[in-house]
């Protein structure tokens, strides 16, 4: 029989080696932080930073009272913004669905060639923010709503494609097998075995993305892609801060409303 000859009198949360590793990790993190901080603030003009409270007070005093008479002028851009988001979402969905089917392991026609391409499309679309897409598209197809719509659509491909292909991969294989056992063709398996299973997820993802797109389309105008952002840019350029307040409040209201609508719709679907 072995006896425990030595044990610690005091309970401690970690072993001494664990503590050491933890301290080492924290030390490395702090060192990295300090190093990054020094590189980042190398060119910072501290005079402007020290001056910030005065600037903030100045801007704040110019922002109130909001110029409410500006509100009627904003209705047309608001309608444009909603159209950018909605039409962009529709365009994104149309492009994302085939990409998702190509990317899902159980539906892809060729796992060697098409699947990596589809996954690259998804990653590329996801890494680049819609504002950057808009910046490029404004340079290519000119300023206006179309650039915004295409930017939103391109950004949505990655998001919808990723979530949808994960949903396709999670489908119940027994149902698909049952359809296959009836002698269904590939297209029929897709239509009767897979599509009904991913339908609720599909609508949920689409509505969720629409909500995000409303949020993103409000600022696309900053780079010239139409919508309420154009008015924001114009007001900022002319330093009309009282108009900026109105625009920001309107954006906030729109975002809150769209979030509410999307939450209600997803609740109803799922």
């Amino acid at each position: 029989m072995t006896e425990i000859t030595h044990y610690s009198q005091v309970w401690s949360y970690r072993t001494s080696r664990g503590r050491l590793a933890l301290w080492g990790g924290w030390l490395a993190l702090v060192a990295l932080f300090v190093w990054c901080w020094q590189i980042m603030t190398r060119d910072t003009i501290w005079f402007f930073v020290a001056d910030a409270p005065t600037q903030a007070a100045d801007i704040g005093s110019r922002m109130v009272p909001p110029r409410w008479s500006y509100l009627p002028e904003l209705m047309q851009p608001l309608w444009d913004t909603i159209n950018i988001a909605t039409l962009g979402t529709i365009g994104g969905v149309i492009m994302a669905v085939p990409v998702a089917f190509l990317a899902a392991r159980n539906t892809t026609p060729s796992a060697l060639i098409l699947r990596p391409i589809a996954l690259f499309i998804i990653v590329a679309s996801r890494s680049i923010n819609s504002l950057i897409w808009a910046l490029l598209l404004v340079a290519i197809i000119g300023p206006g709503l179309l650039a915004g719509i295409v930017a939103i659509a391109l950004r949505s491909i990655g998001f919808i494609g990723k979530l949808l292909y994960e949903a396709i991969e999670e489908t119940d294989a027994t149902q698909i097998e049952a359809i296959e056992a009836t002698g269904a063709s590939g297209a029929q398996v897709l239509s009767y075995g897979i599509v009904p299973q991913i339908m609720p997820a599909f609508w949920g993802i689409t509505v969720f993305r629409w909500d995000i797109n409303i949020r993103e389309s409000t600022i696309l105008g900053l780079v010239g892609a139409g919508g309420i952002g154009l008015k924001l840019q114009a007001s900022l350029n002319t330093l009309a801060w009282s108009q900026v307040t109105v625009i920001l409040l309107l954006i906030l209201a729109t975002v809150v409303l769209s979030e509410w609508v999307s939450a209600r719709m997803r609740h109803a679907i799922i």
């Binding site: 990054c36 990653v123 890494s127 923010n129 950057i132 910046l135 709503l145 009904p196 780079v223 906030l252």
Partner: protein
């Protein structure tokens, strides 16, 4: 006994809207909306056609990116973006931990709970780009404004998810620690922290990833980083440099995504 006529053909049942009238009404509504919406989009097709040549040049630039001729600007922007990302995530997480604890209903008194939840709501409602515009106006151009923007945006994200996580902890463990006569600080340290730590680390890594992506965007409004370099490249019509920058952004995002998912698996 007779049975009535029954359908001889099977039709796929509707999945979401069961009522026929609702289905028709919604379909008509969608058609009307689409007609109105597409009608209000004015497209200058001549301009689009003229731009196609530029689009082709951009695609060529993407396929043959030019890393060398603007390498100084690109590396400068990349360093700014990366340092901005790291510092803002560290500061943002450090600030969001007390706010997250304060916003958890089971740990904080009522009035602190409401204060912390409203800080989170403000931070989440405002977009990064809009916050960046204000910080640039206050603190001047450059990565410092970007750092502040990303820190502020991080607070809303991390504090909210941390607070929700704390609210969902296993109460039995907290009860056990409380029964030993632990103070509030000891309760947080020994009952709450071990339960939420893995998730907090995961969320921080995820936010690091998001902050890098956002740092590429807020540069457009003057908050430094690689977005500023990209904006300049596009303004100069140097699509090969712009293609190079975009490829770098995609590569960094991919590396960050894979390494953070690997790290999260390793830590849990």
């Amino acid at each position: 006994m007779t049975t009535g006529p029954y359908p001889t053909t099977w039709r796929r049942p509707p999945q979401i809207l069961k009522d026929l009238r609702w289905r028709i009404a919604i379909q008509i509504g969608i058609v009307i909306y689409l007609v109105l919406a597409i009608g209000s989009v004015e497209v200058n097709w001549a301009r689009v056609y003229a731009g196609l040549e530029r689009g082709q040049r951009f695609v060529m630039g993407f396929l043959q990116p030019d890393f060398t001729s603007r390498w100084r600007d690109i590396s400068q922007g990349l360093i700014e973006s990366l340092t901005m990302t790291l510092t803002s995530t560290v500061v943002g997480v450090a600030i969001s931990i007390p706010i997250g604890i304060g916003a958890a209903r089971n740990l904080a008194p009522r009035w602190i709970y409401y204060i912390c939840r409203s800080i989170i709501a403000v931070s989440r409602a405002l977009q990064e780009v809009i916050i960046a515009i204000f910080f640039v106006a206050m603190f001047g151009f450059g990565p410092f404004a970007g750092f502040l923007t990303l820190s502020f945006a991080t607070i809303g994200f991390i504090a909210k998810l941390l607070a929700d996580d704390i609210e969902e902890i296993d109460e039995a463990q907290a009860e056990a620690v409380r029964a030993t006569g632990a103070s509030w600080g000891q309760l947080v340290n020994y009952a709450v922290q071990p339960q939420v730590m893995p998730r907090l680390i995961g969320l921080s890594l995820y936010r690091l990833d998001i902050n890098f992506r956002e740092s590429a965007v807020i540069g457009i409004v003057g908050a430094g980083g690689i977005g500023a370099t990209l904006n300049t490249a596009i303004d100069r019509y140097e699509y090969d440099s712009a293609g190079a920058i975009l490829l770098i952004i995609i590569a960094v995002v991919m590396v960050a995504e894979y390494s953070s998912s690997y790290l999260r698996k390793f830590l849990q």
